[in-house]
Symmetry: C2
Subunit: 377 residues, 2 copies
């Protein structure tokens, strides 16, 4: 059996014990709050991870591309939410999935989008299940909970013969906060806005069975989820340094890391050069504007122990620079000789994972199992 | 035959006419300067692109991983420089390539690295061809042209029975400049430092047949390449917005773009939401600190005409935000209705390409040919 020591570098490692703990923590919280949990598989695009989430109690999955929907449906997952606004040109692909038996839900946030779905659906004799995207924090897409647009979109769908399945929101701005109070506030804002939109639809005599909210920070911070029927979150399964700065995990919860090898030094500068550059870490600098900037990642031993003060401070395509945060490290070449293997915790698990065709799942005894992930659209 | 109009989005497009023009421009320049040209295939990891470079006159290729070396050797390219400091653990993989007939050259920049190569080579009866990496601008790896370290590394290699093939430098700091004068200055610094290192080796009675320099900006800016035998460059084949800011190409030379579809709007904010997020563009924000910040990319029509003032100003995983640089665009939903297809020029062609399993090569008539590229190590 392959072990950690056999792996070539750079390699993306998943600490399976941490991953299982993260999955259990979220699922237990959702169970206690009385809501269904629908993990977002865009973080990992990896079947064994989704299977672990489902085994722990997840009900269906969220995807960011129809390729993800196709891959996970082929692997046996039937209840799938495609949580990116439906492009009319992709309706035939969505139809094909539904005709094969996939319980695919799609979303829209405009009357124009709703009309395109309804026209295509009627022409094909398909009542698509559509959820309406609600904007709860102004960060990206969605219709405000108040105002006429919400009711107009709903009526276009219902009168067009589509199945109005619910409302969905994502408080992406939760990533910008870093105190428990602020996170509870944005979680309540997400909940209240989405529940309000659902209430307005029902008051107008329109159906709204599902009220779906979520992001990792709000899912972990919400004090109540009254009126919500399901929660979505993605990055919680691995966590990362951005989430650590947000305040929802410790570095000891981060299940994804990149294994790397020291290939050289610039001793006067206190640098060790490693073979994990941005191709292995991604160009994500998500901690740059947070309370603590981790450069391109936090350096750990090969076994995963954090090495305080050592960051991946620079990254070219296949070169990374390890340096001490408190200035030059005089004995860098003695401390990390050529050939030394290190791990680096990433800023953003979704972005770092996307750089790798495979994760290596590392079990408690150091055994390594290849878990493929897929790329592209 | 597939055409541009048939492609699903997001998709990475290569304008083959621009690519061929970029290839010809560089090759003609190298021919005029009297040096060999060895393109860096890390930018594209795509066989048809490398074949076009070789057909135009390139002599061998540069790679950033041994996987690239294996893939291109399997496709018939024999003369390969692996231009990342050799990790001792990867020597068996390099040996296997050489035993299969690959003319693989490896590099080192330390006595420790040189000793590891020589010991392994002697034990295996293999005289590896090794080039010594020279530091000409302090930006990353390499040995200074002056000082004892250079001669020590060379002697370890030669006395260890290895083949000292030459010296190699990369003035990566050229990316930080943006005037013709500054670029000529850094090009001359790269040339002079590397030639000086070669001279010192020869003065000490050591061989140094190859003097290899290069980066796209210095290759295009160098006034003379006296003493240099070969030049390397990668991103010139596609160019990008970072290179445009550096001043070595126009936007009309950028051969890589990402095709995207409008999926929604936030009209009050002047936003069109598109399906090219950072998964399609990469998280590279390389123009952020340059003279003009292009956000996540410059927006163009589907046909490739630049739309002045429209940038991809924000990006989540599968969502991008198109907005006007001069504040809100009042008629964004009329200007770019749902379903509108746009192209986005990338900040950094190497990083954007890496997000895609395939390029679509777009010919002059709009025909689209799939050109696979590979991922991973």
């Amino acid at each position: 059996m392959t072990s950690l020591q056999d792996l070539d570098t750079p390699a993306a490692l998943v600490d399976t014990a941490r991953m299982q703990r993260n999955i259990a923590r979220m699922q237990e919280r959702m169970d206690a709050l009385g809501v269904r949990f629908r993990p977002h598989v865009k973080t990992t695009k990896c079947l064994p991870v989704a299977q672990a989430q489902i085994a722990a109690g997840a009900r269906g999955i969220t995807v960011s591309t129809l390729k993800e929907a196709e891959r996970f449906f082929d692997a046996g997952v039937r209840d799938i939410l495609y949580a990116v606004g439906m492009a009319p040109a992709r309706l035939p692909q969505a139809l094909a999935l539904r005709r094969r038996g996939c319980d695919l839900k799609i979303i829209t946030d405009s009357a124009a989008g709703a009309r395109a779905i309804a026209e295509f659906g009627r022409a094909q004799g398909e009542a698509f299940e559509v959820w309406i995207e609600i904007d709860v924090d102004g960060h990206r897409s969605g219709i405000p909970p108040e105002g006429e647009a919400l009711l107009e979109v709903a009526r276009v769908l219902v009168q067009g013969g589509m199945c109005l399945g619910g409302v969905i929101a994502h408080a992406g701005s939760s990533y910008d906060h870093d105190t428990p109070e602020a996170l509870r506030r944005i979680a309540e804002q997400e909940r209240a806005g989405t529940v309000r939109a659902a209430g307005r639809l029902r008051d107008a005599g329109l159906p709204c069975p599902v009220v779906s909210v979520g992001s990792t920070p709000t899912a972990l911070a919400a004090a109540t989820l009254e009126g919500v029927t399901e929660v979505r979150a993605g990055v919680y399964v691995f966590f990362d340094l951005v989430m650590h700065n947000v305040g929802v995990c410790g570095t000891g919860d981060i299940a994804l890391s990149v294994l790397t090898t020291v290939i050289g030094h610039q001793e006067e500068k206190g640098w060790a050069i490693v073979d994990a550059g941005w191709m292995a870490m991604s160009r994500d600098r998500g901690t740059q504007k947070q309370k603590r900037d981790y450069g391109f990642g936090q350096v750990c031993t090969e076994g995963g122990e954090v090495l305080p003060g050592f960051l991946l401070s620079g990254a070219n395509q296949e070169h990374g620079i390890v340096s001490g945060t408190d200035g030059a490290c005089a004995d860098i070449a003695q401390r990390f000789p050529i050939g030394t293997r290190l791990r680096v915790l990433p800023n953003h698990a979704c972005a770092t994972g996307a750089q790798h065709p495979v994760y290596y799942a590392i079990g408690p005894g150091g055994q390594a199992e290849a878990w493929p992930r897929f790329q592209g659209w």
